[in-house]
């Protein structure tokens, strides 16, 4: 039973081949970035989203408030 579970897990791990982007440096960046996003991505996503929204707020100002009003009507 235990062996079956380990085998299943290993099979799962090998269902896709590792990504190769063609250029070693690019593949390295890709792997470093995706490593962060594979577990608990929200630790990075929420601060990133917050910083982006702040940047949008400083660039577009009140348009951001109008955008939210539009989005709130959109459900």
């Amino acid at each position: 039973m235990e062996q079956y579970q380990i085998k299943t897990k290993l099979q799962e791990t090998f269902i896709v081949q590792p990504n190769d982007l063609g250029i070693a440096g690019l593949t390295h960046i890709y792997k470093s970035l995706t490593k962060l996003l594979k577990t608990a991505p929200f630790i990075y996503l929420i601060p990133l989203a917050f910083l982006l929204v702040l940047a949008i707020y400083f660039i577009f100002g009140v348009y951001l408030v109008r955008l939210v009003s539009q989005l709130q009507h959109g459900f």
């Binding site: 799962e12 791990t13 269902i15 896709v16 081949q17 990504n19 190769d20 982007l21 063609g22 890709y30 995706t34 996003l37 594979k38 577990t39 608990a40 991505p41 929200f42 996503l45 929420i46 990133l48 989203a49 917050f50 982006l52 929204v53 702040l54 949008i56 707020y57 009140v62 951001l64 408030v65 109008r66 955008l67 939210v68 009003s69 539009q70 989005l71 709130q72 009507h73 959109g74 459900f75």
Partner: protein, 203 residues
């Protein structure tokens, strides 16, 4: 006895669905990989059931120009178009593309969409729009957009993983596939907006 079995299957599928919601938040990669090997169709039906329920409940909250079943039909067509598109192009590029896997993974990738729509419905009741330019209005706008953008990022990750595990393609092929999909999908969304089916583009 049959009903008992069915009930047990239903409850277990329901538990898996709720557990996977959390798993997709904390370990999206591993969870999506597991989902791509899933064979329990009841899970897909339950997710579809939640969406149908949402459309009906929403029609009680706000006055909509069309009957709820029309939105459900549009949603099903939209989902079917997405699955068929990724299957056909994915199959041309890689014969290992799995139809079942695409349906399961893309169904689960609807979680951020469902979360956003549900949260937005609650915000609509608690803090109805339009937002004002006061300090509180601006603060809420920043919070709301941060929340929405985080969910959009989550959605992008889940869709990417769904296509990756279902088609077994590499990063660039998936990127081109998604760009090609958007090329078809954006005009479709715009048409839906023009006909009054949706006020915002949703994926």
């Amino acid at each position: 006895m049959d009903f008992k079995n069915w009930l047990l299957d239903f409850i277990s599928s329901l538990v898996i669905i709720f557990r996977r919601y959390l798993s997709l938040v904390f370990t999206p990669y591993k969870t999506m990989r597991k989902i791509s090997l899933e064979e329990d169709w009841l899970q897909v039906y339950i997710v579809a059931g939640f969406i149908t329920l949402y459309f009906y409940v929403r029609s009680f909250w706000i006055k909509l120009p069309f009957a709820p079943w029309l939105y459900i039909l549009l949603f099903i067509l939209d989902f079917a178009f997405t699955v068929v598109f990724f299957y056909l192009i994915g199959f041309i590029l890689n014969k290992q593309t799995s139809w079942n896997s695409l349906i399961f993974t893309l169904s689960y990738s609807l979680y951020p969409t469902i979360t956003w729509f549900l949260a937005n419905s609650i915000f609509y009741i608690l803090i109805p729009p339009p937002r004002t330019f006061s300090l509180l209005g601006r603060a809420f706008s920043i919070f709301f957009l941060t929340f929405s953008l985080s969910l959009l990022f989550w959605k992008i990750i889940l869709v990417y993983l769904a296509i990756r595990f279902s088609t077994k393609l590499n990063f660039f092929s998936i990127l081109y596939l998604i760009l090609l999909y958007l090329l078809f999908f954006i005009p479709l969304l715009y048409a839906m907006y023009l006909f009054g089916f949706t006020l915002i583009p949703f994926i």
